[in-house]
Amino acid sequence: MRRDIFQAIADPTRRAIIILIALQAMTPNNIAENFNTTRQAISKHLRILTECDLVKQEYQGREIYYSLEIEKMKEIDIWLEQFRKIWESRFNQLDEVLSTIKKNTK
């Protein structure tokens, strides 16, 4: 099943993981130490984040380090920015309509 980034960030634990690994690459054990949950639960979250391409894995010896895919995170901002633009444009049009109404009623 293909997942996407909005689903990934729907969960508060996953959002917290994103914030943690944005600062530095971490192993699943390091990450789990920050949460009051099982190592298995963290692994599941990491799997979802990986499937969404939000995190990347790097092997160093026997350890796997997880870090954030910054570019992918930007996608969310891009969507929001377009959405914001629509409302901006809509409201600028309303400004014009309102100013026309004002003139006509004077």
Partner: protein, 166 residues
């Protein structure tokens, strides 16, 4: 003058809610009319190059507005809004859903609850809009659809800009 007017758009993914705030340099009754009268609404509701075409609008509790967003190539996206509460010039709420061109609600598309509030201070009217989606997936879909419309809008701006550069 326009620059000092507030515009704020935030998304809370944990509650699937979009919050929009905007100030207008007009009396509250005029802004209210612009949101609740079909002939004014159609003049601004669609971001250019899209246009808004309202087929009917019955602004009463239980009444509905049935309208299309019409794209630059004539493509039509129909929606219906069903008014759930109305407190003249202060607040109104509605349920919004996507339909086919025959008023049949498309269940595969997200529906949302809208809550619009109007307040006035020193001749400036503040409109606060709260859009609540049923799920994060619907919120995502709405934002992505916005992306599509926003994209044609940007291409249009770009076209204008290029004409100026020639």
């Amino acid at each position: 003058m326009k620059n000092s007017l507030l515009f704020d758009l935030t998304v809370d993914k944990s509650t699937n809610t979009i919050f929009i705030k905007r100030e207008f340099e007009a009396a509250r009754s005029s802004v209210w009319d612009a949101f609740t009268k079909q002939e004014i609404l159609d003049q601004w509701w669609a971001p250019k190059p899209w246009t808004s075409r309202t087929k009917f609008m019955d602004f009463h509790v239980g009444g509905r507005r049935f309208y299309a967003m019409v794209g630059p190539e004539g493509q039509e996206h129909w929606s219906i809004q069903k008014y759930t509460t109305i407190n003249p010039i202060t607040n109104f709420t509605y349920l919004s859903a996507f339909t086919d061109n025959d008023e049949n609600i498309n269940d595969e598309m997200p529906s949302s609850n809208w809550d619009l509030n109007f307040s006035e201070q020193d001749g400036t009217t503040l409109v606060s809009i709260l859009i609540k989606q049923k799920s994060l997936a619907s919120l995502e879909q709405i934002i992505k659809m916005g992306f599509k419309e926003g994209f044609t809008m940007i291409l249009n701006d770009l076209e204008k800009l290029l004409k100026h550069l020639k």
